[in-house]
Amino acid sequence: MADTTLATPVRRPFALRYPSVMIFLAVLALFTLGVTVLSEGFGIGVISTSFVKTLGKTLCLCLVALAMDLVWGYCGILSLGHMAFFGIGGYAIGMWLMYARTEMIVVESLAAADLPPTAQEISDGIATQIFGVVGASEFPPIWAFAHSLPLQLAAVVLVPGLLALVFGWLAFRSRVTGVYLSILTQAMTLALSLYLFQNDSGLRGNNGLSGLQNLPGLDDTPQAIVSVWFLWASAFALGAGYLLCAWLVSGKFGSVIRAIRDDEARVRFLGYPVEGFKLVVFTLTAVIAGIAGALYYPQAGIINPAEIAPIASIYLAVWVAIGGRGRLYGAVIGAAFVSLLSTWFTGGQAPDIVIGSLRIQWVDWWTVLLGLSFVAVTLFAPKGIGGLVDLLADRRSPNRHGAALGPEPGALREKEADQ
């Protein structure tokens, strides 16, 4: 460019300035390809379908961890409610999946009757099928849009987004910060979960929504295939989410939200409307969480209010802390590592340890181990697993913090040498 002087070099492309983004996307693509080749549906069948689903679900958890990192690691809002947004996304898509599939079954069973069924009969049939388990046979108002995939997809984004917008507006406007905000988000999560546990919430109480792995109209497609589709969709969502987050934190916006994390009052005196920034980040991350949930639950097959319980959101914070907050790949590594390890430990595959009369069964003791690791990471390695990357990078080329590279006065400064 002609208008830039020597002192203001041409900005290099995004990919070169943020190599970690490209590395991440490459690893994600390779991983997806690898799993596809090894899957039962499209490849040589080394990886079982249930494990493909576990991997696909893990990608969704990585996505919600990214959202958590953005809101906590970058903006400093320790939200203990993002798994509620995740759950809402799951419920929104689950309602359509359950409705549409039940509708097909009902239509099929009524087709044998002498007279063609009326719309009312079909609707009643679906309602009886879905709500019989909670002793009801009518559609609650909340199901008004369940027949329409586009509307429920809109709900995946809009319901978590609006809830976060309203909640955030009330909380940030009153300048609730720090641990008080965490408690407030936790209370919101608990209230939502308790409400959903009730049968008259209209979402089948503690039974939740089930059979979500069956896509309507695709009964003939084996789960081996569907599971890989969802893996692709989850990988795509994670990649897109990563790019979005990397873009958000790379520019001045990232600068401002990190500044808010470090000294909120100072940012206010710079003239930035801190509440507005927090609200944008909180709402946006809630939407990301909702999308992650909508991809997760069809792979899990079932969603119930226990998934929204406060502990889920605390786990989310633990993943991000262990992975390393304030860096995007840290959140992804933390979520993948801890949730896969948790699957292994709680799946009964880990061998019991016998110490004298004490028998450590990991299914029960895993939580203790996780809790201890969390405390250890917080105390001794606040950068988490992501901090290891710094160690490696420092060994290869020590960070001179922009200082001169050599002893002579004319030596290039580190930043100049990079360009």
């Binding site: 208008d3 830039t4 002087t5 002192a7 203001t8 958000l248 520019g251 001045k252 916006f253 600068s255 401002v256 990190r258 500044a259 470090d262 000294d263 009052a265 100072r266 206010r268 005196f269 710079l270 003239g271 930035y272 409307p273 801190v274 507005g276 920034f277 609200l279 944008v280 913090h401 922009g402 200082a403 400064r413 580190e414 930043k415």
Partner: protein, 246 residues
């Protein structure tokens, strides 16, 4: 000269303690003013009131030609209206580079969406470099602010204030913890800044105030005790009694 900021009859108390008691204060455009006073005289509270951090119990604070009331505005709105503040303890964003700190402070649209789609132009970068030169940090543009010395952080903060292009600059003890050479530089910076805007300097150090060579307001127990040139106030008996005499 026209009045830029007018504080009249302002009082504020914390748990019954009157930090500011019927205080009135005026400053004109492009004026340099020093505010001195013993500990607990209400200097910091005075700044808190102007910048919107503390709401007074009574009184009026008006600003600009249209006599805008600052009392109903949020801190960020007041800052956007052109009042910049430097804190006693240097508060820069230590985790970010000097360039990022300055870029954040540059006078631009502050809304979240404007910031999200903001791309620094060549002019913006040049401005950041000019500012860095002005505060003597040209060589440190890419260093993290946390690595700077105490004095450099103070300057960076002053640089960030200048980047905001405020019409009124409130500076709280700028020379605290500085070496004599750094003080000299700071005095120059402030006097230079006061040529294009109003500057209020809150200071403890009488020598520093003397070098600023400007009108002085002495605060005591939350109200104005004396006002005038440095020689005038240092000869005032009440001032000698409560402040200088000890």
């Amino acid at each position: 000269m026209s009045t830029l900021l007018e504080v009249s009859g302002v009082s504020v108390s914390f748990d019954g303690f009157k930090a500011i008691n019927n205080l009135s204060f005026q400053i004109a455009e492009r004026e340099l003013r020093a505010v001195i006073g013993p500990n607990g005289a209400g200097k910091t509270t005075f700044m808190d009131i102007i910048t919107g951090k503390t709401r007074p119990d009574e009184g009026r604070v008006t600003y600009g030609e249209r006599a805008l009331s600052l009392l109903s505005m949020s801190e960020s709105r007041i800052a956007q209206a052109g009042i910049g503040r430097k804190f006693q303890r240097p508060t820069v964003f230590e985790d970010q580079s000097v360039a990022d700190n300055l870029m954040m402070a540059l006078k631009k649209d502050r809304g979240p969406f404007a910031v999200l789609f903001f791309k620094p132009s060549a002019a913006d970068r040049t401005r950041v470099e000019e500012l860095a030169a002005e505060i003597g940090l040209s060589g440190a543009l890419h260093r993290k602010a946390g690595e700077l010395s105490h004095g450099q952080k103070q300057w960076l903060e002053i640089g960030m204030l200048l980047a905001q292009e405020p019409r009124l600059l409130l500076v709280d003890e700028p020379a605290a913890g500085m070496t004599p050479a750094e003080r000299e530089h700071t005095t120059d910076l402030l006097r230079e800044a006061a040529k294009t805007r109003a500057v209020v300097v809150v200071e403890h150090d009488m020598e520093f105030v003397r070098r600023l060579d400007c009108k002085v307001t002495v605060l005591h127990e939350g109200s104005v005790l004396a006002e005038g040139s440095i020689d005038h106030v240092t000869q005032n008996e009440k001032v000698i009694e409560v402040y200088l005499g000890r």
